[in-house]
Point group: C2
């Protein structure tokens, strides 16, 4: 399948399509029309048709989408038909939460190692994976061909750690540290800034209340 250039906004919506289609598949639904999908997802049917047209459509007029086919195709676009070697750097609660999340492995993200600076954590196993010390990190990344690293450590250590990871072949950083990383252009950074998400919540909470009072 030949892909067209697709916009960032569409890419952002793809994982949600993937999730809904996966749920439909689990419930045994084989076909769905854009109207039904629209009702479930609370997105207009025309938005759905437009988004899916980016990938050549998949749908037949009056016949709906083949759920399994669409699910698999979107999975391929998202790169979920491959497997990735991943490590977690920072074995605090957040790092351990990620390590315990088995769904990631089902999607092809194999957690090969967990690292920390705290010597008391050395050798402690999280879901069978022993926590290793940072001095082992460079050789571990190279030997295990690690492509993705989740950074779940304090912001003070994150920048230096990102440099080490990139030097040792890591191609993508899933960054939970509250800092913008400065990495080479060909390294992917996906940020999860929890504080910023909470601030958006409080903005919306206040502004909903304000707008509500006015009316």
């Amino acid at each position: 399948m030949e892909e067209k250039e697709i916009s960032k906004a569409v890419v952002k919506r793809l994982p949600r399509y993937y999730r809904y289609l996966g749920d439909l598949l689990s419930s045994g639904v084989e076909r769905i029309s854009s109207n039904e999908l629209s009702d479930r997802m609370n997105v207009t049917a025309s938005q759905i048709r437009q988004d899916l047209n980016n990938f050549g459509g998949f749908g037949q007029q009056g016949y709906g989408y083949n759920v399994k086919y669409l699910y698999n195709e979107i999975g391929k676009i998202l790169g979920l038909d491959k497997t990735y070697h991943m490590i977690i750097v920072g074995a605090g609660n957040l790092g351990q939460a990620l390590a315990n999340y088995v769904k990631f492995e089902k999607r092809g993200f194999w957690i090969k190692g967990i690292f920390d600076v705290n010597p008391r954590l050395e050798g402690v196993a999280v879901r069978g994976i022993p926590i290793r010390m940072i001095d082992e990190l460079p050789s571990f990344c190279r030997e295990n061909e690690i492509q993705i690293a989740a950074l779940t450590l304090p912001k003070e250590q994150a920048a230096k750690m990102a440099d080490i990871l990139v030097e040792n072949g890591v191609r993508a950083i899933w960054n939970f540290a509250h800092i913008d990383l400065d990495v080479p252009e060909d390294v992917i950074v996906e940020n999860v800034h929890l504080s910023e998400s909470l601030m958006q919540l409080s903005y919306n909470l206040n502004h909903y209340e304000r707008d509500h009072r006015k009316s």
Copy 2:
């Protein structure tokens, strides 16, 4: 200060301004020009001027922005000059990670309680806060005037829990469960879908590689 209607895109950028200004403040910087801020934040200076103009500007031509003033004003817009009563529902690794994150309290988000369904966790303290069982949740929410709930539990339980929270006065849900919540229009939902973030990372990783190979 009178606020104009501001766009969602600007609201999304505000927490990042807030973070940079906070860092500048900690380093003792009192004034900064839009050009300097632009260099640091990797955003164009004209974008910065436009964004900050939404709030009446704050800057004087040729004199730069007063860092402390701007930091405080953006904090007010984000609602960080108030305090909020918050609970965490789901005391697994992720819930405990949030409970341990002291910065939230510094920003005015007071964690008043942590809840779980697992009886083995009853009474276990996380940063001095005892984990309570779900049957106490309704009265706890009302008595402690809980406004915000973080939902860090499996998706199967999330929808029902959201209903209970809303019935007991919770006005905003910080949703980490991998599901779209169906709540009344006046309830704020801020989603953090970690799987979807990881899928965007893998999309970008694959498409960077593909685009790179082509050239």
